[in-house]
């Protein structure tokens, strides 16, 4: 068990390798109850959310979710989050390590008529992720009718759940919001139902490996309050034309001038695991640092993300990364490193 933002979390249940393969080939079940969950109500909630986040939430209807960023006035990323639209307001899932900071940030900006409630401790959150997730989840709802980044209510293994077709692995799958006192029952029932097909409970190690293969950014590693969305390669979440939001003025300037840094993907040689903070150089000149790195059991080689000077590296270029006190060779590759079953959903 490891400490993760104050929560005691398993790095692995059995082996990171086995759990990683289960997620890519069948499905894995993650306990992500540590993530922060807020509810926003009141007549002012829609305008408030629209002013706080980068994406355009106005077109969202009940049953839809959207990936978003919270920015500070300088355009730096305070957190990344998923915003859900319900019939009575909005719901958001934020990073565990940022829960208290985000809650204070929302509350500091909320006008009269917006109610913000921290629901983290009333609900558990588990994620069932993998190419066979739809087939193997015991559920009363018509899962096939839930689109990517859509959600519905239903019973999972006889327990009431909010079922969201979202995740952090690059695979198809569902995130299930379930009352804290019942989430353990649902966990056991899902595994009982799907274990014989090869489903495994999966820990933080498999979660990090799968998210990195899918090039999903991790706040605190690949981005933070000093990184803007264009540098993080998340410009697609920014809708400058939607009206005013926190950070917009700063981002207009970044967009006009071009970002100073960029996030790139690196493929490394077997055994050379690039660690967070390691220096990246090209042509003998330091160009940036590693933000995330691991060994990909599934791809068979180590992979990494690096934040480097804009235009210093392009796909196909060679670079060098400091590994165990020496310069290890790296190749710049296209992101994501791997496109899982979520691809067919997002292309629909």
């Amino acid at each position: 068990m490891v400490d993760f933002g104050g929560w005691e979390m398993p790095q692995q249940y059995t082996s990171i390798r086995d759990e990683h393969f289960a997620v890519r080939q069948v499905a894995g079940l993650f306990d992500v109850s540590h993530m922060g969950r807020f509810r926003f109500g009141g007549a002012g909630a829609p305008d408030f959310i629209q002013r706080m986040v980068t994406n355009d939430v106005a077109p969202l209807v009940d049953g839809q979710a959207q990936y978003n960023l919270l920015l500070n006035d300088e355009g730096g990323i305070v957190d990344d989050l998923v915003v859900y639209r319900g019939s009575e307001g909005f719901f958001a899932v934020v990073n565990a390590s940022n829960r208290e900071k985000d809650l204070a940030w929302f509350r500091a900006h909320a006008p009269e008529g917006v109610e913000i409630e921290d629901r983290t401790f009333e609900q558990g959150l588990i994620a069932f992720q993998g190419p066979r997730a739809q087939e193997l989840l015991p559920c009363s709802a018509d899962l096939a009718s839930i689109p990517y980044f859509g959600w519905a209510q239903g019973d999972v293994a006889g327990v009431h759940a909010l079922i969201s077709r979202t995740g952090y692995t690059g695979e198809d799958g569902f995130e299930l919001f379930i009352a804290t006192d019942r989430v353990g029952d649902a966990w056991d029932a899902i595994l009982g139902h799907s274990k014989s097909a090869g489903v495994l409970p999966a820990g933080l190690g498999a979660r990090d490996a799968t998210r990195l293969e899918a090039a999903l950014r991790l706040w605190g590693n690949d981005m933070d309050e000093t990184v803007n969305p264009y540098e993080a390669g998340l410009g697609w979440t920014v809708k400058l034309g939607k009206g005013d939001f926190i950070g917009r003025t700063a981002l207009e300037k970044v967009k006009a001038e071009g970002p100073r840094r960029q996030l790139v993907g690196l493929k490394m040689q077997p055994g050379d695991i690039a660690r967070h903070g390691a220096e990246v150089s090209a042509g003998g000149k330091r160009v940036g640092v590693i933000t995330s790195g691991t060994h990909s059991f599934f791809l068979g080689f180590p992979i990494a993300l690096a934040m480097v000077e804009a235009r210093s590296l392009q796909v196909g270029d060679r670079a060098a990364v400091e590994v165990r006190g020496r310069e290890a060779p790296a190749e710049v590759v296209k992101l994501p490193f791997y496109r899982g079953s979520a691809r067919s959903l997002s292309d629909k």
């Binding site: 695991i273 660690r275 059991f297």
Partner: protein, 125 residues
């Protein structure tokens, strides 16, 4: 089978005649998580007691490997370069790391299984 002895830094050693076999303990592999790579020395190199001889990379971190005893490297487990996961699955068997021709006596502070168990219980909560 010779009695296995342990160090505070989670290596193990068994001795048969003048040769020692060394590896890392089951506790060490469980703390490291899945091992993905080992950087190991060549046969013939002389190691002093407590000398760093290589690096073990797991998905979590890179850690130095120390020799619990002094001696000359007689054999390196070459299988580990293709199958580093043997360190996880069989740390006391197929996951052995080096065989050394012993130079001098064994260090006096090596622990037996009971003593080592106390160390790991204190370390793991």
């Amino acid at each position: 089978m010779a009695e296995r002895r342990y160090t505070k830094t989670h290596e193990w050693v068994t001795v048969g005649g003048k040769q020692a076999t060394i590896g890392i303990t089951d506790f060490a592999q469980s703390q490291l998580g899945d091992v993905v790579f080992l950087e190991l020395p060549n046969v013939g190199r002389k190691l002093a007691e407590r000398e760093t001889f290589g690096v073990i990379e797991s998905v979590k971190a890179a850690s130095d490997l120390y020799s619990p005893v002094a001696g000359r490297i007689a054999e390196v487990n070459e299988t580990l370069s293709a199958k580093p996961e043997l360190i996880n699955s069989d740390p006391y068997g197929e996951g052995w790391i080096l065989k050394l021709d012993l130079a001098g006596d064994l260090p006096s502070d090596l622990m037996d299984e009971g003593e080592y168990k106390k160390v790991t219980e204190a370390a793991g909560h």
